[in-house]
């Protein structure tokens, strides 16, 4: 890239990649910098569940819009992305959880999200590996699964985009500047019209004071056991627990990969900065999974690992101009939904840069919502 790029993006994770793709499609020249390989950060550590969520109206709007963008993208995705519209099965263990199934079903139906309510027998028929006696479940038909690092690579390197996107892996950024450029670790300054901080859980290092915290998660992957489960299966049992955002926690969540492997989650911890395995939390996570899938313990495990979600205080990402300079954009804080919401993040950035009407109302995601102090440089 000879002339200065229009946009420089720090981070070649799924979010940086989606931002680059949308901007390139809009005709802009994009430079993407990452200290590691494409998709080697949180994007390599996560599950790749493309899921509609309804914790808040803003979360629903973001996930539903982004899932639609994934559906539109699906036909062009290469096999390596392992896109699989297997759907989500939310399982209800008892009548109380079944009430939640009905509430969710009504909410989704009203908004045009395809769902099916399953009775206990239907759940057993759909997923025979589940322990008998489930009260029921909710099938969210169009949820899907991808392999995130390959998805990030496709977003950056698909034919139509390569002309306008330059990716430089192995380049560490030391500072994001108020003039829209960045300074590299070796002191070099890169000029651009707009700098995007898409550094995931490391974004606060480039924006001191940013209210983004590392929230650790563990996963275990098995050898190939095709057909063990058919949907991404998630429990509704979390409703009954205290549900504190501060304490360590686990939930049953399993994902069938197109390869036949099973990916087992999930856990959440604050204040655990390293990526080593915490055997206590892994233990709790697996025990929870065994409660739902009694046969799971006998599958062959190949690897366990941990990564960090970028968590914000209100569980919504930071998408929009930073309070420091309107030539710095933030695209971070996607917590446990960044694979899902990456595409809409890129779309909102491009909408802003081009002055288009935003795909969805942006206010809930603007960094300014968290107050000035929260996003100022120290």
């Amino acid at each position: 890239m000879s002339a200065a790029p229009d946009i420089v993006i720090v981070g070649a994770g799924i979010v940086g990649a989606a931002c680059a793709r949308e901007c390139a499609r809009a005709g802009l020249r994009v430079l993407v910098l990452d200290r590691g390989p494409i998709g080697g950060g949180t994007t390599a550590a996560g599950m790749g569940h493309i899921v509609v969520m309804d914790d808040s109206p803003a979360q629903f709007a973001l996930t539903a819009c982004s899932r639609r963008l994934w559906q539109e993208l699906a036909p062009e995705l290469p096999a390596a992305v392992e896109y699989d519209p297997c759907g989500t099965l939310w399982v209800a263990a008892d009548e109380q959880e079944m009430a939640e199934v009905h509430r969710k079903a009504a909410f989704y139906r009203e908004r045009g999200v395809r769902v099916e309510v399953l009775e206990g027998d239907d759940v057993a028929a759909a997923e025979p590996a589940l322990r008998p006696g489930m009260a029921g479940g909710l099938r969210v038909v169009d949820d899907a699964v991808v392999y995130p690092p390959a998805a990030a690579q496709h977003l950056l390197e698909s034919q139509e985009n390569t002309r306008r996107i330059e990716v430089r892996p192995g380049v560490t950024v030391a500072a994001v500047n108020e003039d829209g450029g960045v300074t590299l670790a070796d002191g070099t300054r890169v000029r651009a019209g707009l700098a995007v901080n898409a550094a995931g859980p490391w974004s606060p290092l480039l924006a001191p004071g940013l209210p983004v915290r590392k929230r650790k998660g563990h996963l275990v992957i098995t050898d190939r056991h095709p057909g063990f489960v058919h949907h991404q299966i998630v429990e509704l049992g979390y409703l009954k627990s205290a549900h504190a955002v501060t304490a360590d926690s686990v939930a049953f969540n399993i994902q069938p990969r197109k390869t036949g492997q099973m990916l087992i989650g999930s856990s959440r911890q604050f204040g655990a900065e390293g990526t080593e395995i915490n055997s206590d939390i892994l233990d709790r996570m697996l025990r929870r999974a065994f409660e739902y899938l009694p046969g799971l313990g006998r599958l062959s495990a190949i690897r366990a690992w941990a990564g960090h979600r970028a968590a914000t205080p209100d569980k919504l990402p930071l998408i929009g101009p930073s309070l420091v300079s309107d030539r710095i954009w933030l695209a971070t804080g996607h917590e446990g939904l960044g694979i899902t919401t990456s595409l809409v993040t890129g779309r909102l950035l491009a909408d802003h840069v081009l002055g288009r009407a935003p795909a969805i109302p942006v206010e809930p995601y603007l960094p300014a919502r968290l107050g000035k102090g929260a996003t100022l440089h120290a």
């Binding site: 998630v234 360590d248 686990v250 313990g297 495990a301």
Partner: protein, 433 residues
């Protein structure tokens, strides 16, 4: 699931010569010692079968010495994780084992190096060591034509063994050039034991054509291997065969030391004169520290065992002997160094990672092992990169990717660490991943 707990002053992992020696000398000096190995027998790869049917006098001596030493053998225990300092987890047929230790000696040995070449994934193309093990376990080779190819002293030993089980060996193809082997052989006078072994072997081998400076270019066949195309770099020719046993010498099993955080240098664990690794209380011996054969491992094992038992003086007395075997190992490494032409054997479409069916073309454009893993799945399969990782290290100079538990595939339930009656699951979280 069954789960048992054991606790020892010293734990030794790997029951080959290095581990047997280490456990024996340490136990003889008191203290509780356990020797863990994933196989059902003592002796490791090199002394496989010796416990049941002794043939090598020194193997028998050491196995007997171990059995009399007071050390405890824990067989069929695959060590796969270390969730905390001083704790190992192992999977056994009876369930999961938690083993606590004050000191640890790792003697996990080496495995064969496989390099990709066209046809190497055909049925009937096998590793020499693997084939030998299968044959010893009763797999019939009588009357079959087995071309033995690749590199290293193991080729001759395996060919010899196979012949005794009735196989026909049309050829041993050693990639190392004749001049380097000759230089190595003339240096053997320093190691009379080795010299006599080599000569005895040669004598029995009379009639097996052995050629240095040649290597397989490709294996061919429809359903399985039927012939191998060999080359000396200038011309190529074909040899018919029923099996092609091909291995390129050894690579150390460094997964466990790496998991524990032991520092490596040049692909081997870095140790000091007492065989201590960079991690306090963890010693490494044998092929983990250099490919130098069973004699080196025996001496190193004794030094580590004595050091762990606090007998530094006795350990020191063995330094001179170890030095001798280190020189032997260095000569071995020089003699059988792999030639650069082997890097060009795999074509664009040749599979590099067998578990995930990844071609050379797909990994070649990556910058390192981690990127290849992320974007081509190379090394993601159940062998956990053991085969392709060593190959890509040779092909592209890549360091292996960081290591994560379990070091071996294990049942998911074996990953549980808390006691069976641990606190109930509480604090359920967001359902989102």
């Amino acid at each position: 699931m069954n789960s048992a707990r054991l606790s020892f002053d010293l734990v030794v992992v790997g029951a080959g010569p290095g581990g047997l020696a280490a456990a024996s000398v340490a136990a003889e000096r008191g203290g509780s010692v356990a020797l863990l190995d994933n196989s059902p027998w003592l002796g490791g790869q090199i002394w496989r079968g010796e416990q049941a049917r002794p043939a090598v006098p020194r193997a028998r001596q050491w196995i007997e010495r171990f059995l009399a030493s007071g050390a405890r053998a824990v067989m069929q225990a695959s060590v796969f994780a270390s969730p905390d300092r001083g704790v190992l987890l192992a999977e056994t047929p009876a369930g999961r084992l938690t083993v606590r230790f004050k000191q640890l000696i790792l003697a996990t040995g080496a495995r064969e190096l496989f390099l990709p070449f066209p046809g190497w994934t055909l049925p009937g193309v096998v590793g020499p060591g693997g084939l030998e093990a299968m044959v010893k376990a009763g797999w019939p080779v009588a009357g079959r034509r087995v071309v033995v190819a690749g590199s290293g002293p193991l080729l001759v030993a395996v060919a010899d063994g196979l012949r005794r089980y009735g196989a026909r060996i049309p050829l041993i193809a050693e990639q190392a050039p004749q001049v380097r082997l000759a230089r190595f052989a003339t240096g053997l006078w320093r190691y009379p034991e080795k010299l006599s072994q080599a000569v005895a072997m040669k004598a029995r081998l009379l009639g097996i054509p052995y050629r240095a400076g040649i290597w397989p270019r490709r294996a061919e066949g429809r359903e399985r291997v039927e012939r191998v195309v060999l080359t000396d770099g200038k011309r190529s020719w074909t040899v018919e065969c029923d099996l092609l046993a091909c291995g390129w010498n050894l690579v150390p099993n460094t997964e466990l030391p790496r998991l524990l955080g032991c520092a490596l240098a040049g692909g081997f664990v870095r140790v000091d004169e007492f065989q201590r690794s960079s991690v306090a209380g963890v010693f490494c011996v044998g092929e983990l520290t250099a490919i130098a054969g069973g004699d080196a491992a025996l001496v190193q094992g004794q030094i580590a065992g004595l050091s762990a038992a606090g007998a530094a003086g006795a350990a020191r007395e063995l330094f001179a002997e170890r030095w001798r075997w280190h020189r032997f190992g260095a000569a071995l490494t020089r003699a059988f160094a792999l030639r650069p032409e082997l890097r060009a054997l795999a074509g664009r479409e040749t599979v590099v990672c067998r578990c995930e069916d990844v071609s050379r073309e797909a990994v070649e454009r990556c910058r390192d092992a981690r990127e290849a893993k992320l974007h081509s799945r190379c090394g993601m399969g159940p062998c956990q990169g053991r085969i392709c990782g060593a190959a890509t290290q040779f092909l592209f100079g890549w360091e292996s990717d960081s290591i994560r538990p379990p070091v071996f595939p294990v049942r998911v339930e074996s990953l549980l660490t808390a006691s069976e009656h641990s606190k109930p699951v509480s604090n359920l979280s967001d359902p989102t991943p």
